[in-house]
Amino acid sequence: MRTSASLAEEQTLVQAVQEGDEVAFGVLVDRYLDSAYVTALSVLRNAHDAEDAVQGAFIRALERIDQLKPGSPFGPWFYRVLRSTCLNLRRREALRSHDDIPVSAAGGRDPEQDLQRELTRERVIGALGELPEMQRLAVTLYDLEGYSHQEIAEILGIAVGTSRAHVHHARRTLRRLIGPSAGPEDGGHESME
């Protein structure tokens, strides 16, 4: 969950990046890389495309960072850039098909664990593929980044109630497809806000 202190710190980072500070940009990348990757993977369902999308989104965000209004949080704006990058990439990729590169192609220390992880991941990606795109994005942003429905509504350009409905339906579908690990259908971090 984001606090006002972390938002203020992030605004300082954004200002530093606008002036060309490499370290500040590295901090923003470290902060958002994992969640951006998960979001991109849930949209594109292909590890190679997800990597391209994340890289493209960060570069696009850097090129356009002056468009971020002073005082505005970086996160929601970055996810809008990421989403648009994913959609552009998917449109482009639709024109040419290619074989999926295994997500854990680089390999880990334990091949059996890697295989298990790979199977779980494929199952999850398959389940996400069953969701309409808006549900997929809403549940990813809600469960991954801890965004409120208000923020998700702003990122996706939908109503707050629609965001609630998307998360609810997405979780129900995921529970059906991958079991209880999808989390509860209702409730979540927002109840603590």
Binding site: M1, V17, Q18, E19, G20, D21, E22, F25, G26, V29, D30, L33, D34, Y37, V38, L41, S42, A47, E51, V54, Q55, F58, I59, L62, E63, V103, S104, A106, G107, G108, R117, T120, R121, V124, I125, A127, T140, D143, L144, E145, G146, L174, I178, S181, A182, G183, H189
Partner: protein, 122 residues
């Protein structure tokens, strides 16, 4: 949201360390020239502003200097007389102030002027 509160399905989608390093390296590799360009443009902007503002600063300095000189030239003579050292300079030794205007007391301007006029005579 802390990692352990995230649903398990999300944890399965996270990039492994190798992927994370690879993506991070690719991003920073592509970003460095853009950041360098930003730094240069920022410095250029500062230099440009400095170039634009230096004649203005010089003009403002000249205006203030002129005003200060003008003010110094048109100083009120009464104010000059009012200062004790100036009054003392005006009085010649033979026309020294009467003892009533001792150094310890603050001289009254009217009294001093009266003494000066009387000593010079008609």
């Amino acid at each position: 949201m802390s990692n352990d509160r995230r649903p398990i399905w999300l944890r399965a989608l996270h990039p492994d360390d190798v992927t994370r390093r690879r993506v991070r390296g690719a991003i920073l590799g592509e970003a460095l020239p853009l950041l360098a360009a930003r730094r240069d443009s920022w410095l250029d902007a500062v230099a440009e502003w400095a170039t634009i503002l230096s004649p203005v600063a010089a003009a403002v300095t000249l205006i203030f200097a002129g005003l200060a000189l003008r003010q110094a030239g048109s100083a009120d003579p009464a104010e000059s007389l009012a200062s004790a050292p100036a009054v003392e300079d005006l009085v010649r030794p033979e026309n020294a102030l009467p003892s009533a205007f001792g150094r310890d007391s603050v001289p009254d301007l009217d009294a001093v002027l009266t003494v000066i006029y009387e000593s010079e005579g008609p």
